[in-house]
Symmetry: C2
Subunit: 322 residues, 2 copies
DNA sequence: TTCCGTTGCTAATGCGCATTAGTGCGACAT
DNA sequence: ATGTCGCACTAATGCGCATTAGCAACGGAA
């Protein structure tokens, strides 16, 4: 329509006239006019094939991104991811098809995996399969994990929440209020985030010279003599508060509770727990930023974002007498 | 690695051995073994280019899919969309990049539009630009709108909520309770969904022989003598209830309120409004199903899903005496 | 022996773009 | 008249796949 070759259109479209090849302003305008008239848009698939770049970022989650019920674990991360992708002019590809079989966890790699269609990928999940990480690294697929990950045959690019300092600070605060016997309730392993919390607790206890005990479940908590309990997740904190109430204990007068991870959004409990806020949205944003950087300059960036302490009302001075 | 040509691998990969071309079982197994060993996955971009099919469905929304605040309008639809896409083995491409400029609404068509990368597209939004619809139809891009749309140079494929019968049923119910003077509060136009509600109201009033009035805002409502008010949206209903309370009116004793569209999730108000439930999740599911059908067999399907009535507690018999 | 049909595979092509190595042409110098 | 150079553009190629036409080898029928 403009009487020029496909090459010329491509050059005009990509504004490459500056470099080596030259296109006269008249021709350029003519081409641009036709593009405007017809609304021509380059085929993204062909572009990807030729250019090896798409401006599409994949988002992988092991469960549904849009959960029907349940408190939404992914949502705050995704808010940040979408914000940042929008600013970067990128589209997001959700790997919803990744479910291997009925009722099974999604898989990153499958026969039909469209992961390579994206320029890179953001990984979401409390835990990530080690095998998946190994393979992502081995195949040199650009990605960034949201949440710290242990090495998997090499350093994993991530942006995580910096749990240990936050937990240590809370332990210190409890110690300052006179608590000498503290309990951590939770598995403290499995997910890196749990391990990090427990690590922070242990470090904090060591620093303050307090006595620390680690309980996997609530069993034995009330007999342990602990005056403050650090709950691995908010849900645990709520359960402990309820159990305490059932025993006629007042929180925080008789028992202080610290929740390691503030709620995403208003949850069933109306207790205003002392603890910290996981910067989920910021983590999502930062993950996309890092992914962009990885795509441009490579590297395996690892970042930890600080957790802001939340005062709340469940941490009080230790009772004088029991 | 298997000592065969690229063609053979392609044939094995796509299980085309049945039709015309034949591959011996031994060769097939050998190829499959290598594929398994290496974890080879076909490049989706190249595949799309050659095959003109992707198993990627686009999802277009005019605002953020993951909103930071505000009641989430899109979420229930997306739950259904993701569920169905997962079952169909499709990935979802969110067009987050579509924002033309700062603070502006997203655009379907832009210079960089990746919409053609997807096999088809699901459109979400209270309203959809008519120009966008026209162009989608003109360019024969397969798509399905969630929400009924007026023709745009041709019938628009959609799955919508069937408002008129639901509103009519509620009007009839009010009439059966003795109400003779009813008000509709809302714009009643702009979005097809508003127009449909108002249409249902007008039809219902005509059927029952009641007196119906249409108010764009709450102004004048309490002086109108209406004993029941149909609020276009739940938020309107909540505002009306509050205003009524401020005037010392009891809902529903003095004034009945019907909310045309139940809340997505628990909102600020704790009033249990009489009204109907918009089948958002089902609409999302159905949209994906229809898109799949369109891709396979073409056509411009249009479907309306019934809204289930919600009893609630804000519709009562008309007061004997005012 | 020749001819044909079948089996099992591959060479070649095109999808729509980005990129590279040219090519034709006019201006200018020799 | 001949050579040289820069300008404005194009032909050709490759990206990784699906697809189609075709080819070699072999066996059985004539």
């Amino acid at each position: 329509m403009a009487g020029v070759s496909q090459t010329t259109v491509s050059l005009v479209l990509n504004g490459k006239a500056e470099s080596e090849v030259r296109i006269s302003p008249e021709t350029r305008d003519r081409v641009l006019q036709v593009i405007r008239d017809t609304g021509y848009v380059a085929d993204p698939a062909a572009r990807r094939l030729a250019e090896r770049r798409n401006r599409i970022y994949g988002v992988f989650t092991y469960e549904a991104v849009f959960p029907a019920e349940s408190a939404d674990f992914y949502h705050p991360f995704l808010v940040g991811i979408e914000e940042c992708a929008e600013e970067a002019g990128c589209d997001l590809l959700l790997f919803t098809s990744a479910k291997a079989a009925q009722r099974e966890r999604r898989r990153i790699f499958s026969a039909e995996s469209r992961i390579r269609l994206a320029d890179g990928c953001v990984l979401l999940g409390r835990t990530v399969d080690r095998d998946d990480l190994v393979r992502l690294l081995a195949e040199r697929i650009p990605f960034v994990s949201v949440g710290r990950r242990d090495d998997a045959g090499g350093p994993v690019p991530y942006v995580g929440a910096d749990y240990p300092p936050a937990v240590r600070a809370l332990v210190a605060r409890a110690a300052a209020l006179g608590h000498r016997r503290m309990a951590y309730v939770g598995v403290g392993r499995g997910a890196e985030s749990y391990a990090d919390r427990l690590r922070g607790f242990i470090a904090g206890v060591a620093e303050t010279g307090a006595e620390g005990l680690h309980l996997t479940t609530t069993a034995g908590l009330f007999e342990s003599g602990a005056t403050v309990v650090f709950a691995e997740e908010l849900a645990d904190g709520a359960a402990i508060a309820e159990a305490a109430l059932a025993r006629g204990l007042d929180v925080p007068r008789d028992l202080s509770i610290v929740a390691l991870g503030a709620p995403t959004r208003p949850v069933s409990t109306d207790i205003d727990f002392t603890g910290f806020r996981i910067p989920r949205r910021e983590m999502g944003r930062r993950a996309v930023e890092l992914l962009t950087r990885v795509l441009e300059r490579g590297g395996n960036p690892q970042e930890l974002l600080a957790c802001e302490l939340v005062d709340g009302s469940t941490l009080a001075p230790v009772p004088d007498e029991r």
